[in-house]
């Protein structure tokens, strides 16, 4: 059943690819680039891509997932032009793998970790984690997503990791961790501050920066896209004041060095 569905999917995507190359999105010099975006940056990326389209006419097609997933896909030849990672480790790795353009890497945002609950008043501060008023804490996979790693670092700094381990539930991405809390399946969870910028209510605690290593989110241009004007244009656009304003609006901090 599944295999037949997959074969059909392959045929359809092959047809779609043929169609796309035969009839390009045309317009005067407008191009399409594929950007892999770490799940926590979903909302700002959409806004930036819309603005980018408005300014340049180029289409930035966004894919959302975990940084680890994208790293694996790119090493296997996934057709992305740019990776907006949730960490600086994977962009560095892509460069040392010979897949990323060495001088293209820069920090487009520094992420903030938040402990969040749907219930108003439930989360007050770090002490909340010591209480017994929750059965499950949602995080994202610490090995694949930096916000999960930051959550684990936070718990370790608070010396609560061992004790809370049986209560941890892992989402594949930060979006899934958010959903676990959103649907009430987990009472509390570690999410990105940017995810709460839409003001979903409940209660939250902005985890102090001294409890975890800064989440430096790096962008990298892939070597295969080095000559692609739209792709380099998007990288430059990420550094523009307009983009930076969007990044700040969603609760990220900007990197001092870049």
């Amino acid at each position: 059943m599944t295999s037949r569905r997959q074969i059909v999917a392959v045929i359809i995507s092959a047809l779609a690819a043929t169609f796309a190359t035969t009839f390009p999105m045309s317009g005067a010099g407008a191009a399409q680039i594929n950007v892999a975006v770490a799940a926590n940056f979903t909302e700002p990326a959409k806004e930036i891509a819309a603005l980018f389209k408005q300014k340049t006419g180029h289409d930035a097609v966004l894919s959302f997932g975990s940084s680890g997933q994208f790293y694996s896909q790119i090493t296997q030849g996934a057709p992305f032009h740019i990776l907006l990672s949730a960490d600086d480790v994977r962009p560095k790795k892509l460069i040392s793998d010979g897949l990323g353009a060495p001088d293209s890497r820069f920090t487009y945002a520094v992420g903030k970790l938040v402990l969040w609950s749907k219930t108003p008043g439930l989360v007050k501060d770090g002490e909340t984690l010591k209480s017994a008023i929750f059965a499950k804490v949602a995080i994202c996979n610490p090995a694949a997503a930096p916000y999960g790693l930051a959550a684990v670092e936070t718990l370790k700094s608070l010396k609560l990791y061992e004790a809370l381990q049986p209560k941890l539930v892992e989402g594949a991405t930060i979006t899934q961790a958010y959903q676990f809390v959103e649907t009430g399946n987990a009472e509390i969870g570690f999410v990105a501050l940017s995810q709460l910028s839409g003001n979903p209510g409940g209660s939250q605690w902005l985890v102090p920066q001294d409890l975890y290593n800064p989440i430096r989110q790096d962008a990298v241009l892939l070597k295969s896209a080095a000559g692609n004007e739209a792709a380099t244009g998007f990288m430059d656009f990420l550094k523009s004041p307009e983009s930076r304003a969007i990044v700040l609006k969603y609760g990220y901090v900007l990197d001092r060095q870049s």
Binding site: T2, A135, K136, A172, N185
Partner: protein, 228 residues
Amino acid sequence: MGGLPFAIGQSVLLTIELAALTTLILLLLGTPLAWWLARSKAWWKEAVASIVALPLVLPPTVLGFYLLVLLGPQGPGGLVAQLWGGRTLAFTFAGLVFGSVLYSMPFVVQPIRNAFAAMGDRPLEAAATLRASPWRAFWTVAVPLARPGFLSGAVLGFAHTIGEFGLVLMIGGNIPGSTRVLSVAVFDYVETSQWREANIIAGGMVIFAFTVILGMTLIEKRASWRHS
């Protein structure tokens, strides 16, 4: 690296447990359902049959999405979980069993229904003329005759639950020993670029699937050979 065989072994065991329990429940629930679907003349029978068949067509993520809501504290699953002091059925083995039963139902019910339908009314009428009670006729005539259907239903239900992915990913929470089944483990290893581990499991599952298909084919061959 010493933890590797343990982590994989744990997932193997968990997956087999889930598949076995799901198959058992489906045989218990599915048999009366299949019997009714095969023999009832109710006009709404096919509507029920269509509901049973839904997972064949629906993407597992659709089921996963509804289950995430249904199993949670605001849904009926939350009420059930309260029986043992829990808040949600997501992230629990019980939740996975519930999801798997829904997900694998057509794979068990369909073959049994077909087997019941194929044998027709004659054997049961013959049993009735010999004064067998319907209950006795069911156990001594219908069930033995439908054995190949039960066999393929059980094998398909088991194998399909082993291969379940989208559903577990969405409601499981990736907890070792309770929700981290093999398909999720493969996903996890690929996400974290642990190709060797992914390879071990994926390779094992290919061999398993091959064995199942081959076994099924042989069972069917034997059944048809016995009929002719």
